[in-house]
């Protein structure tokens, strides 16, 4: 029984970090810093596991901005429904590893000179 528990613990320890980093962590995103500017298409939504919004990038693509989880995003000053369509924004963070996906895991959002730092512990 003790042996079985040890094997189970080892298996969990070996596999967990990899699984966790697949999407909801940062592992699914490129290490390089990334920035995209554009105009808001869908305002801030605080529904679901992460807050989200979409913008029309200056490059013509629709970008999905994945923000922090809702409580943290709200604490950073971004409330549900904020930033009406057409608002000019710049998102700073990390782009999704899949180059066909126009998604940025956003650390900071700059709107008209004001910065919303949803991940203040990250640079």
């Amino acid at each position: 029984m003790k042996k079985l528990l040890l094997v189970a613990a080892a298996a969990v320890a070996l596999t967990t970090p990899r699984i966790v980093s697949a999407h909801h962590g940062w592992g699914g995103y490129l290490d390089a810093e990334f920035e995209v500017s554009g105009t808001v298409e869908t305002p801030v939504s605080l529904a679901g596991p992460h807050a989200t919004m979409t913008i029309k990038g200056a490059d013509g693509h629709q970008w999905l901005l994945t923000l922090a989880p809702p409580p943290r995003t709200s604490a950073a000053g971004l409330k549900d429904g904020m930033l009406p369509a057409g608002t000019k924004v710049t998102a700073h963070g990390h782009r999704h590893r899949d180059s066909n996906r126009f998604e940025v895991k956003t650390e900071r959002l700059t709107v008209d000179g004001k910065t919303y730092n949803v991940y203040p512990d990250r640079t």
Binding site: A22, H23, S45, A47, G48, P49, P70, P71, T73, D80
Partner: protein, 154 residues
């Protein structure tokens, strides 16, 4: 589904709603799987020193409660942004696995062996049949949990 009142509730009742419902979903799954695992292993033949009759009478209500919690909270999680899950292949594995798990459970409870196990010892053949269904049950719930977790990583 997304436009349902459940969907509205999930999106509009505070920033912690999703996290709390998600937590309840995990607890429901833990309750269901943790309890059914013991029963299924017993059906397969592990832990025979505990009489099946004693085990089943305490485990079935716990597992049922766990399932009901997981199912209701799961609907809430899905309704939050249902459209986002369209085309997610893991969802198409998860729901058939749950359906099969439920059908399997329904079949088990309708077998002569299951109906009689509180009153008498089961024959070898009956034990074998229940063992197969216990194994199938484990397979179903494990598949549902694995594919369910993977939905978030697609």
């Amino acid at each position: 589904m997304q436009a349902s009142s459940l969907g509205h509730f999930m999106r509009e009742s505070g920033v912690w709603t999703y996290a709390i419902v998600n937590l309840a979903h995990v607890l429901g799954i833990a309750t269901l799987f943790g309890s059914i695992l013991v029963l299924d292993l017993r059906l397969i033949g592990i832990g025979r020193r505990v009489p099946l009759a004693a085990l089943s009478s305490s485990i079935v209500p716990v597992a049922t409660t766990g399932f009901l919690i997981a199912a209701t909270t799961g609907l809430g999680l899905l309704a939050t942004k249902a459209t986002e899950y369209v085309g997610n292949p893991f969802l198409l594995i998860k729901f058939p696995a749950i359906a099969l798990g439920l059908v399997n459970a329904a079949v088990v409870t309708r077998t002569d062996a299951w109906r009689a196990h509180q009153e008498r010892d089961l024959s070898q053949a009956e034990q074998r049949r229940l063992a197969i269904m216990g194994g199938l049950s484990l397979l179903c719930w494990l598949t549902a949990i694995v594919s369910g977790r993977m939905i978030a990583y697609w």
